[in-house]
C-alpha cells in the first residue's frame, strides 16, 4: 500500500501538524520505507486471533464516582503560553 503525497497531507491535517511542501516530499519517502517494512505483517495469517491491547489482558479498574481532584487552576496555568483572568487565550473562533 504505497503512500502518496495526498496521504501525508491528509494525515498531517488530521494531526493538525503543519508540514511544508519540501518536508512533505521527504516524509512521503520516509513513510513509504517504514510502511514497506510494516507490510511484512500482511504475510502472516491472523485469522481468528484476538487483538491484544494490554499485555496481561487486564481490564480497566473502576472506582467510586467521587470527586478526588481539587482545583489547581492557577498552578496549571503557570505553564500555559497565554492566560487572562483564569482563562486560556486562543485566537477568536466566533466572529
Amino acid at each position: 500500500m504505497a503512500l502518496e503525497d495526498s496521504h501525508v497531507r491528509r494525515a498531517a491535517h488530521l494531526a493538525r501538524l503543519g508540514v511544508s511542501d519540501d518536508q512533505a516530499r521527504g516524509f512521503v519517502d520516509d513513510l513509504n520505507r517504514i510502511l514497506e517494512m510494516v507490510d511484512q505483517l500482511q504475510s502472516l495469517d491472523t485469522e481468528g486471533v484476538a487483538p491484544l491491547a494490554h499485555p496481561l489482558d487486564a481490564t480497566q479498574r473502576l472506582r467510586a464516582d467521587e470527586v478526588t481532584e481539587s482545583s489547581q487552576r492557577d498552578t496549571f496555568q503557570h505553564s500555559a503560553p497565554a492566560v487572562e483572568n483564569g482563562l486560556y487565550l486562543v485566537p477568536r473562533v466566533v466572529e
Binding site: 513513510l31 487486564a58 472506582r63 503557570h78 505553564s79 486562543v90
Partner: protein, 486 residues
Amino acid sequence: MHDKTVTQLAAALADGELTSRELTSHYLQRIERLDSKLNSFITVTADQALKAADAADQARAKGNAGLLTGIPLALKDIFCTKGVKTSCGSKMLDTFIAPYNATVVEKLNAAGTVSLGKTNMDEFAMGSSNESSFYGPVKNPWDLSAVPGGSSGGSAAAVAAGLVPAAMGTDTGGSIRQPAAFCGITGLKPTYGRVSRYGIIAYASSLDQAGPMARTAEDCAHLLNHIAGHDLRDSTSLARGVPDYLDTLDAPLSGLKIGLPKEYFGDGLDPEVAAAVREAVRVYESLGATVREVSLPHTHYAIPAYYVIAPAEASSNLSRYDGVRFGHRCENPLDLTDLYKRSREEGFGDEVKRRILIGTHTLSEGFFDAYYKKAQQVRRLIRQDFLDAFEDVDVLMGPASPSPAFDLGAKKDPVSMYLQDIYTISVNLAGIPGISVPAGFVGNRPVGLQILGTHFAEAQLLNVAHKFQQATDWHRQRPAFAKENA
C-alpha cells in the same frame, strides 16, 4: 567515591564514613566539570539536591534513615518533577515546569534519595541513539565518537561516566536495555504495569515502562524495591504484591534452565557480540545452569508490529500538545487551526513528526483494520511465543543489541535505526521483563547480555544477573573517560 555502587555508598552513609552532602557535592562537581563533553544532563538541580542531601543527613542523625536515604540519583527528563523543567527532550516542552511529581519521583523522594537533575533523551523517547533530542546528542563515555544508545541515553552515559551512581529510565522498545548495553551498565525493564506510569510523559501507553539503570543488578534491586507497586493513579498498573528483590539475589543457579532463541543469533548479529554472549552463557553453565535452543517464531514481525502500535498510540498521546494549555506556541496565529498546526510544526522534531504521521495514517478510515488491528493480532502471537518458551525454560538469553554502540551520525535512515531494536522490542509487545548486563567488549565498546523472564519474574532476572556479576567483572570496568577524570 564515584566508582562505588549504590549498595556500597549506602553502606558508607550508614557507617558514617561520609555524608549525603559530601556525596552529592562530589557528583555535582563532576557533572559541572565533565558533562560539557557528554551532554548527559538537560537540567541540573544543584540547589534542590544539596537541600535534599542536608535533609537526608538530618533524617539519618535522627535515626530515620532508610537503605537509600541520601543516595544521589538522576531522572530521565520524561519523569514529571514538581517545580522543575520537564522537557522530554523536546522544544515543545522547553519551557514546561511540571506542576506535580510522577509516582516514581514521589516514591524515590519518600525513600530519601537525592535527585541531581534530569537526563537527556531522544525527543519524546522516540529513538535508539539519543540523536533526536532537541538538546543535542549525548556522547558515549566509552568512545566519544559513539552514541550512548537511546532513548534513555543520558541516564546510561551519566552512570557509566560516574556522574551519578544510578538513574531512572523508561523503556518502550528497548530504551533502558539498549543504552545500558551500549554504555556498559545494568538496566532493567520491569513487567508492563509493575511500575506506575503516572507522571511519566506518555509515548506508547501499552508499552511504556520505567525502570532502574545502575552499575549492578544488586543496585537495580534496591531501586526496584522502592518504585514497584500498584498505583491508584495509573489504571494500567497491576495490583499485585511486590517481593523484596534483595531476598533472592543470592539464590543458587543450579538447575536453572536457559533458552537461547535461535532467532536472536541469526543474520545481522555482529559475530563478536555473538561470541561475547555465548561466552556469558558458558559462565552460566559453569554455575550449574543447563542451556537449550528455543524458537520465538514471530520475532521478525516484532518491529513491523511495533511501528504500527507505538506510532498509533503516540499520535493519540501527542495530540495534547496544542499550544494552548502548555508547551510551545507559535507567534501571531491567524486562527485556531493555524495555532495548532504551526505550534506543532515548530515544537516537534522530524522523528516525532514521522511517528505522528504514521500513527495518524494507520488509524485513519480505510487503513485501521489492515494496520492497527493486524498489528494487535500479531502482538498476541508474539506474546504467545514467549509464553510457550517459558513452559520449557526459566529464562531466555541473547544479545541486547545486534551491534555495539554505533558512531554518531551513522544511521541516517529511520528504518535502519528501527532495526537496531530487533532483540528488545518484542519484549515490550509481550509485556515481559528484561535486563541487560555488561558481558564484554568489541574493541572499546561494551556488549550487553539480555536476560528475559516471564511476567513478574523480576526477582529471578535480578538473581540471575547478580550471580553473573559475582562470577565476572565486566560490570566493574570503567571507561577511560571516567578514569582520566577521576
